[in-house]
Symmetry: C2
Amino acid sequence: MTNVAVLGVGMHPFGKFENKHIKDLANTAIWNAIEDSGINAREIEAAFVGNCLGGILLGQESVRGQVIMRHAGFKGIPIVNVENACATASTAFRMAWMSVKSGLYDVALAVGVEKMFIGNTAKSIEALTTATDIEVCGNMGLQFTSLYAMNIRKKMDKYGWTKEDLALVAEKNSYNGSLNPYAQFKKPLSKEAVLSSKMIADPITLYMASPMGDGAAAAIICNEKYAKKLSSKPMIRVAASELSSGQASMLESKPTESTTYITVQNAYKQAGIGPEDIDLAEVHDAMSPAELKLYEELGLCAEGEAISLIREGRTKITGDIPVNPSGGLASRGHPVGATGLAQIAEVVWQLRGEAGKRQIKGKNGKLPRFGLTQNDGGYVEGDQAATAVHILSRI
Amino acid sequence: MTNVAVLGVGMHPFGKFENKHIKDLANTAIWNAIEDSGINAREIEAAFVGNCLGGILLGQESVRGQVIMRHAGFKGIPIVNVENACATASTAFRMAWMSVKSGLYDVALAVGVEKMFIGNTAKSIEALTTATDIEVCGNMGLQFTSLYAMNIRKKMDKYGWTKEDLALVAEKNSYNGSLNPYAQFKKPLSKEAVLSSKMIADPITLYMASPMGDGAAAAIICNEKYAKKLSSKPMIRVAASELSSGQASMLESKPTESTTYITVQNAYKQAGIGPEDIDLAEVHDAMSPAELKLYEELGLCAEGEAISLIREGRTKITGDIPVNPSGGLASRGHPVGATGLAQIAEVVWQLRGEAGKRQIKGKNGKLPRFGLTQNDGGYVEGDQAATAVHILSRI
């Protein structure tokens, strides 16, 4: 069994960078990851490049990764272009992991990048509707926000979630984002400010919704045997990588019937741990209140107990099970093809103790040991189209 | 070392199917591959779906594979969307192979599909220009045809290739295509007809150029240990899988400096054989005359000897080293995201002795044993953006 480590991670800040090209965003993330890993760039043997909307938004399909990698100075390494809606970057990471695990390469690069601000908001929103079957939902304009709203309403009815509970998630994550130099939004928001912001799709308000964004994130993945020769960085092992498609409806009511539940259970099994071992989680809160249901689906608490977690502050960076210390999708930002690798980057920094003012503590009061990422992408016929879960561990 | 086999292959015919949806094309190829493999569809654990131009031509990005697989009746298996210009399907095949080789899955599906006839030829041609950096070449309208023409002109000057030699390739391949029920064009063309057809980019005439097309191809890939339990079909091993990007300029002059040469040498090494062991090859003749240079780059003959091979009929299906028995890209067709898997399908059928009227013989006068596919995709800054080589062997 080949063990695989993440040697380095890097990001381009998420935000609105109207004068930057997609190539520039990726270039920064790639070279930050290389610098972080301490390896020589020539050690990289293959690249897996994730981008989601570049065909429609930028007119670049077919060789997106080759264009990006050449701009970043790479020539002569095999490149694979990967796409999986908002789970694109996690999928690219998984492919890079798989390539090392299979023994094909010792060192691989995963990159995720998205350029959503193109000076035409309507077109960017239209592109986002391609994260479903365009003929069934996309052309109806049924956007994620409304799907999330329906799902959250059901949960409010069933478990007694209040609007204040929903706002608490955004309050927590906006505070975390204010401590993250890579975050799109760095202003802490009060619960009251969240609730009084513009209503988008009841009960979701503007400050609960992830924004459009430009950004990139990257990771260097390496065979552990080889890693020790290349880098003196603390080694972060990929303890589990799981990807699912279409396991269950996005409007499911029971946590244990969700795609995330099925996927994370496989991940726990692969890592040989349980949810009680997880020190932190980066999760897909495209709309902040979705974080609540994810607590239950990930097994961080029992069914119906999510509101206790948020009310008691247990998922704050000072809590016993911090969730979205990066700020999550709504505060750190959500350039769709980059998000999964931004989650990986945050977990790596946290496990190494490099997360600065937002550094969390592990269960023993020292550095955390196990971090989890959960990244959703798209839906087809009501089912989640892709859910990726990764568990990283400090060894 | 996990050995990996191709258990089954399937295609939707290549051609102009204006009333068929991309989902229908893929559906036919997928189910033909399943039927061919003899396995139960429920054995498939993951799908790697290749599509190249659907974002721009059909408006469907993000979850192309999920949409296709759901239409084909699949729910709940992980799906990865892969893109690599004209080498998209080979890349999907390689990812599926890698996933089985890594031990993650026992059975995986690779699909490649493209829908190019959308009732707007200008848009389809524009989409093809995304197989390069749109800002460097794409927006200039520098199409493949002209690049191929420049390359072929150099070879004519250097090695004494005549226009008749170029036409002989199209003559041979159109005859092969006439024997292939999946081919887009089934009319054998004389050398004279090829030469007198419309000039596209001197010396390339219309009948030397691959057409736009709709089509799909698929393969079922399996761990060999598990394969014997699932299927009674003759086992076809993936003896080598190689992928390169940007190794050398498309206008290179020496065969041994080409991306194909570098890639195939790695493939021969992986398979433990040499070019003298190859019984047949399916190669990327997007413009028929390119087949000549590929003879040399693949090592099927020495530098400068390609014209002897074509003049002496050695690469005909009755020759000692048949090339493009399927008809190749110009006759079988080239729906870009499907081509690589159509090459794989042809080699599987040939190795099994199931190629009907175009069946070739191996070196011992019986069934062929080793077949090779070579699939190019796109270019960035003059370099080939992706070249995939696979070697299959009957075991």
